[in-house]
Amino acid sequence: MRVTSFDKYQMSQHYLSKIDSESVRKQEQIATGKQFSRVSDDPVKVNRSMLMDVTESRINQYQANVNDTKSLLEYMDVTFDSASDALTQAQEIAIKGASATYSDADRVTFSNSIEEIIKQVVGLANSQHLDRYMFSGEKLDTKPLDYDGTTFTYNGNNNNMDVRVSEDVNVTVSESAAQVFVPALNELVKLRDALKSNNQADIESAMGGVQKETNKFIDNRSKIGVQIESVELLDESYNQVKLDLSTKRKENEDVDMTAAISDFTYMQQIYQATIQSSLKMMQNSILDYI
């Protein structure tokens, strides 16, 4: 095979530049720690990374939703707690009022205390969290209950606000005061009136009504407690999924440092060897001898 002088030089130049560009690529990988810096470096892998991105963003959004849900639910829980405390207090007053040890004048005092409790519970129903009324259904800017001394008017609506915490799970984060507070308040009004009128039978039946409503509040609280727990479990499972994703991501994107560095060193050695061998080749010429 005939090899021309110029060709020898060209060939070694070609190989040297190939090794050079491969070395630069390896160097870039080592410096960034990533296997690719542009989509065209490895379209299939980058596509996989982008899909993981989308999943991660979706999970992050759900986790944000979960956090907001927890905060709203916890506020509702605290409110129900105070409400059931108030109702328990009302029950104690009712027991006192039903017993014969107290006088009629005492019962009038008791009915005033019940009135105070009523106003307290109305205040709880009209409470705000993060600047919104929690018990107006969807009408967040409208005060839920108006109290004129005898009746309660509900100004909210009957749709509830939901937060989506996963693909197919919505958690309700508001309530209608009409359904949650008004029945209990009506019983309290009955109790107050019964105490004022000193009617033993009425006091006892009103007491039963208040008892029922207190139990309902306890039920509501446990319902919310269950929801908070399940939402927390969801949060944990999201954390687990994110951990998995991040491991898979590292596998997909990260460079195996040891392999990259040893490849790079090997390439440098080849580079040196190529240079030296081509120099040797070019030095030999008949012109040295004639």
Binding site: F6, R38, V39, S40, V54, E138
Partner: protein, 451 residues
């Protein structure tokens, strides 16, 4: 005959010519388009009118011609590989530029902003009464529109640069074509059948030309009557040239090339690459992006128009504009975020059905039966694949061409050691002839000294 100097003189002349050839070869050792030359020697027979032993004597040597040693097949193959390299490398350059415009692996890419847009509506659906969440939804829409418009303008820039590349390359091709025609004329005017230097020069221009377009060279018996064609169009016929004229067809936003009144489409070469990217690739990328943007505008506006703002405004568009060039958010919303329609019931501030519907568009398959994010990802993948293919092909064809060039040089290249040893041989040959001359001279002197 015998004691004369003629035969030796032919030897000395041949020796001189051979040295010239060797000198020429060595001088052109680094010229890749040079075909090494050889002096072809032929024995001269004795003149007519001799018989017997005399007719068997020779008359010296003659340099018949100085021929170039080359292999046409290797040259053609090498040229066609050149064309492939030209095509893929110009494609790679432009697509690389376009990939940088999109910059999907960086921050604030279109897919990031698109996700952000849908997420901000999800956030607003939880707190529709808070104006900070509303504002953030409006601004997410603004950032997305701004980014898309920015990309569209940059794509326009890329198109302009590609146009410039196209016209610049056409100019260069026309210059080369003119040079070839000039060489053809000189070949026609030269007094020999094979003007080696001019043929080498023409080969060099043809090599260069084949990296721009895929040319077909048709040679004829008379070397000046060669023609160069691309597809059906002729560029050179003998000493006549036909310039390539590029024409821009505005309605289709495409370029068309013509020469000698015939339209042609080059299949290889960097001109073909630039043309393909400009006419096909960029058009597809723009069209697909437009599809995404116009569908998105449509879907979002349809939902938004049916919703109510806090102040009972309804029927407002969220996005103005209709495609990726004109997309923008409704300016009213920027200054009045309370008009952002998040509720499906008038006057009910906590109803966030509209917000949830817009957030749900993230998973709705409304573009080519795919959801928007998946569609966009496929779009960027396609661009990346095209670029990747171009890159790989450049490498593959460069390797192939290198080995073809090696083979071509094997035949036509100059090996300095070879030439040097030839020179030694010619030197000895010349010395031998000179010695013969002096021997003949001595013999003649002896003859003359008789008298």
């Amino acid at each position: 005959m015998g004691l004369d100097f003629n035969i030796t003189l032919t030897g000395l002349n041949a020796g001189e010519k051979m040295i010239s050839v060797a000198q020429n070869n060595i001088a052109n050792a680094s010229n890749t388009s040079y075909a090494r030359q050889r002096a072809e020697l032929n024995a001269v027979s004795i003149g007519q009118g001799n018989s017997g032993v005399n007719s068997q004597l020779g008359s010296g040597v003659l340099v018949e011609q100085i021929s170039r040693i080359r292999d046409e097949l290797f040259i053609q193959q090498s040229r066609s590989e050149s064309g492939e390299i030209g095509y893929y490398s110009s494609t790679k350059d432009i697509l690389s530029n376009i990939e940088t415009i999109f910059n999907e692996t960086g921050d604030n890419s279109v897919s990031d902003l698109l996700q952000n847009f849908f997420n901000s509506f999800e956030e607003a659906s939880k707190f529709p009464e808070q104006s900070s969440y509303r504002l953030s939804a409006v601004y997410a829409g603004k950032m997305l529109s701004d980014k898309i418009r920015g990309i569209t303008y940059q794509l326009d820039e890329a198109k302009l640069q590609t146009d410039n590349k196209l016209t610049a390359q056409v100019t260069q091709i026309n210059e080369l074509v003119q040079k070839i025609a000039n060489v053809n004329r000189k070949i026609g005017n030269s007094l020999t059948e094979n003007p080696n230097g001019l043929l080498d020069e023409r080969d060099k221009y043809l090599d260069e030309l084949s990296s721009y377009v895929d040319i077909q060279v048709v040679n004829s018996t008379n070397p000046k009557d060669m023609s160069i064609k691309v597809g059906n169009a002729t560029l050179v016929a003998g000493i006549n040239t036909y310039e390539i004229k590029p024409m821009y067809v505005k309605e289709k936003d495409q370029w068309v090339l013509g020469a000698s009144d015939v339209e042609f489409k080059p299949k290889a070469g960097s001109l073909a690459g630039v043309l393909d990217v400009r006419n096909n690739y960029i058009a597809t990328y723009e069209g697909d992006l437009n599809k995404l943007v116009s569908s998105l505008i449509n879907e979002v506006n349809t939902i938004h128009k049916s919703g109510f703002g806090i102040d009972s405004t309804t029927g407002l568009d969220f996005f103005n504009g209709s495609d990726s060039r004109t997309i923008n958010i409704n300016a009213i919303l920027e200054s009045n975020p309370e008009k952002l329609a998040l509720s499906s019931e008038n006057g009910v501030i906590g109803n966030s059905d509209i917000a949830t519907d817009i957030a749900d568009l993230k998973n709705k398959s409304f573009i080519d039966s795919r959801p928007p994010l998946n569609y966009y990802q496929e779009y960027t993948s396609r661009l990346a694949m095209d670029l990747n293919i171009a890159k790989e092909n450049v490498e593959i064809h460069t390797d192939i061409q290198k080995s073809l060039e090696s083979q071509r040089q094997e035949v036509q290249g100059v090996n300095i050691d070879e030439e040097m040893s030839d020179l030694l041989m010619i030197q000895k040959y010349y010395q031998a002839n000179a010695k013969t001359l002096s021997t003949t001279k001595e013999m003649l002197e002896q003859l003359f000294s008789i008298f």
